[in-house]
């Protein structure tokens, strides 16, 4: 019982961390400045990628390490993210590379779409964890 409360507290803490991370890294809501001469579209996409990847890794590690205590419903939800995360990360990398090669409006639109998909997935992870607050 103590272990369960402890795990729930950890999940809540992780959710508190993940929520601002996803906000910070969105293309439209960046808190950090971008150096002069640097393209904010690229810098924000790269920030989003790095923090989302790390957030997924921590979420997957945590769920796997505490699977028995968290139960099958949490596994099922995290598995959905496990399935969607790699292609979403790949898509953002591909879109970022294409945009860096050719900064056309079309490539920018593709990059923004890929960013939105990855951002939504990060938020899904954060919401999932928040749902399990004690």
């Amino acid at each position: 019982m103590k272990m369960k409360s402890y795990l729930m507290a950890l999940l809540a803490a992780l959710a508190v961390v993940l929520a601002p991370v996803t906000l910070v890294t969105t293309t439209g809501c960046s808190w950090a400045k971008v150096e002069q001469g640097q393209d904010p579209v690229v810098v924000n996409a790269e920030r989003l990628y790095a923090t989302a990847e790390d957030a997924f890794d921590k979420t997957f590690d945590f769920e796997k390490a505490n699977r028995v205590a968290l139960g099958p419903e949490v596994k099922k939800s995290v598995d959905e993210i496990r399935k969607a995360a790699p292609p979403a990360l790949d898509a953002l990398r591909a879109a970022t590379k294409a945009y860096k090669q050719n900064r056309s409006p079309e490539n920018k639109a593709t990059l923004e779409t890929a960013s939105k998909v990855l951002q939504a997935l990060s938020e899904q992870a954060a919401k999932l964890l928040a749902k399990h607050k004690p």
């Binding site: 402890y6 971008v34 150096e35 640097q38 990847e53 496990r82």
Partner: protein, 59 residues
């Protein structure tokens, strides 16, 4: 209090702090990645995809 619980709590707190620190560093970046950094990022994703925790285990 169970010593194992204390150890687990310390480990979890350490990992959480590492994560916060890394996230803050990434969020504070002000420049585009260099080609070397890009190569590292791509290699890292390929490694993560192989990790056990990234796999979907049967129910």
């Amino acid at each position: 209090m169970n010593p194992l619980l204390i150890i687990a709590a310390i480990e979890a707190a350490t990992k959480l702090l590492e994560f916060i620190s890394k996230a803050r560093q990434q969020a504070a970046r002000t420049k585009e990645w260099t080609p070397e950094e890009e190569a590292k990022v791509d290699a890292n994703l390929e490694e993560l995809k192989k990790k056990a925790s990234w796999q979907i285990d049967p129910d």
